[in-house]
């Protein structure tokens, strides 16, 4: 990757300018549509997004860190744990599944099929209760259990990514590998400079999709009381229900959380798309793009 011909730079700027021009027009349309929808919702459910009591209770309390900030930090932390874990295991299992060596491919197939076939929330609960044995001494037991539960989410997405990587590897024609071998490349060099360089390009679109799923899947950690966006939503929810006169906050809190998730996902999927465009090569777009 990163091996590009000259002249790509100029083309890219041109594309960016075009995209910016198009989206400049769209931003106005979208803003109008959002404002209209919000007005209708506020009228129907009798809440106001400018409710100062809500914002100070949920996001900006007089003292200490707001719930929203704690939740957002938690979600970002878990995403930062889950995505690399998933990538590492996904890559490894995906590679194992396409090797000739049965000792590697067979166990990987079993693991991947199992992880894909079990609801991730159950994996989280299992990891929380039975992963404690793996917590290093000296670490806070709760924090350790949450960390292990987060790794379980990583394994789950890893199982899906394994299939993405396997498809990527298998889409590289045999002749490409032979050409690398014929140049005198070592198996590792063929893997890196030929197979990976091409498979990564083909895997990017589905990987972006999976990253977006991962962010949403961190919400499952609320099942064990971890601090992240969905969990703090539940916490605030129960508070708003018990305090009289704050029923309208229910809509507001979930709307806010949904929007935060949406923005995170949007940033990630757009980021992946920019990356796709940067490494695009004529003739290697792949069916998934």
């Amino acid at each position: 990757m990163g091996e590009r011909g000259r002249g790509g730079g100029a083309g890219r700027t041109g594309t960016l300018a075009r995209v910016a021009g198009r989206s400049g027009l769209r931003v106005a349309e979208i803003a109008l549509a959002v404002a209209a929808t919000l007005a209708a919702l506020q009228w129907a459910f009798r809440f106001s997004i400018f409710d100062p009591g809500f914002w100070s209770a949920f996001a900006l309390p007089a003292q200490g860190q707001g719930l929203l900030v704690r939740g957002l930090v938690g979600t970002l932390q878990f995403t930062a744990i889950v995505i690399p874990t998933g990538l590492a295991f996904g890559f490894f299992w995906g590679w194992c599944r396409m090797t000739r060596w049965r000792v590697l491919s067979w166990p990987s197939t079993v693991i991947v099929e199992f992880l894909r076939g079990v609801p991730p929330v159950i994996l989280v609960i299992f990891a929380y209760f039975f992963g404690t044995a793996f917590i290093p001494r000296g670490l806070d037991p709760f924090a350790g259990a949450v960390l292990i539960a987060a790794l379980a989410v990583g394994l789950h997405t890893g199982a899906y990514q394994a299939e993405i990587f396997r498809a990527g590897f298998q889409s590289v024609p045999r002749g490409q590998v032979e050409a690398g071998q014929a140049l005198g490349m070592s198996p590792w060099q063929v893997m890196r400079h030929v197979v990976l360089a091409q498979a990564m390009r083909l895997s990017l679109p589905p990987l972006g999709n999976e990253f977006s799923n991962v962010i949403k899947d961190t919400a499952l950690l609320a099942a064990i009381g971890a601090t992240e966006l969905f969990g703090i939503g539940l916490e605030f929810n129960s508070r708003a229900v018990t305090e009289p006169g704050h029923a309208s906050w229910l809509f507001l809190v979930w709307l806010t959380i949904a929007m935060v998730y949406f923005v995170l996902n949007f940033a990630v999927t757009r980021g992946v798309r920019v990356l796709e465009r940067r490494v695009r090569v004529p003739g290697l777009e792949g069916a998934a793009a």
């Binding site: 091996e3 011909g5 000259r6 002249g7 024609p173 002749g175 490409q176 032979e178 050409a179 690398g180 071998q181 014929a182 140049l183 005198g184 490349m185 070592s186 060099q189 400079h193 030929v194 360089a197 091409q198 390009r201 090569v281 004529p282 003739g283 290697l284």
Partner: protein
């Protein structure tokens, strides 16, 4: 330079090579002819160990290469290969296709590799296509890039596996011209092809293969005017009709 002795290869039940002997001297252009399925490609692929021989020996400059102590990479760095379907790296430009081996395998610096790559692409008449990706090139252009890629490694010999068979007729000439020029510069070549004009005019020797054996081998004029073996005669009659 290349010596093959008693080579056997089975693909499952299929006995593809049945005791092949072949000697290629420095500067020779050996064209391997024969009906399809006679084991020509397998023979070439055994020489650079893309296919592992089951029996027999292959020597490169006197060193036995189908030996567990020899790394196949060491052999392949000295024997270039040009494939029927080009197999250019789809994610690299023409220039990068030529320089990737210099960079990664020979550990040559980028500037030096770049200079060599440009030189080689100029030699195959593609100076104006340095930045083009394989999908943007015609079949003939792709095959010329792949010849430049093989030459970049400064091989002792180049193996050509039906280099024009996948080409539209209008592109065959340009590839054969590059190969003829290469032959006249003294490159050692083993060429599997169905281009009889090339065999007749460029080959120093023709080897006729049928059913996994080399039945006869001689100068092109000998072979085409008076093939000795019955199957060789049938083959020549058929193609000269």
């Amino acid at each position: 330079m290349i010596r093959v002795e008693g080579l056997h290869k089975w693909f499952g039940e299929n006995h593809v090579l049945r005791g092949v002997d072949l000697e290629v001297k420095k500067g020779e252009v050996v064209v391997v002819l024969g009906p399809s399925g006679s084991g020509k490609s397998t023979l070439l692929r055994c020489i650079n160990l893309l296919v592992e021989p089951d029996e027999g020996a292959i020597f490169l400059d006197g060193v036995r290469v189908n030996d567990r102590r020899i790394r196949p990479e060491w052999v392949r760095q000295q024997v270039g290969m040009v494939f029927q379907s080009f197999n250019l790296f789809a994610h690299l430009t023409a220039l990068k296709n030529v320089t990737v081996g210099l960079n990664k395998v020979k550990k040559m610096g980028a500037a030096e590799a770049d200079r060599r790559g440009r030189e080689l692409l100029a030699r195959v008449g593609l100076s104006d296509k340095l930045g083009a990706y394989p999908a943007q090139l015609s079949g003939g252009q792709q095959q010329r890039v792949s010849i430049a890629r093989a030459l970049a490694m400064e091989p002792k010999a180049v193996l050509f596996d039906e280099p024009t068979s996948a080409l539209d007729p209008e592109y065959i000439r340009e590839v054969l011209d590059v190969m003829s020029a290469l032959a006249s510069e003294g490159m050692t070549m083993v060429v599997v092809t169905h281009e009889m004009g090339f065999a007749r005019n460029v080959a120093t020797r023709v080897a006729f293969m049928s059913e996994g054996e080399i039945l006869e081998s001689g100068t092109p004029s000998e072979f085409f005017s008076s093939p000795k073996h019955e199957r060789a005669r049938a083959f020549v009659d058929k193609i000269l009709q």
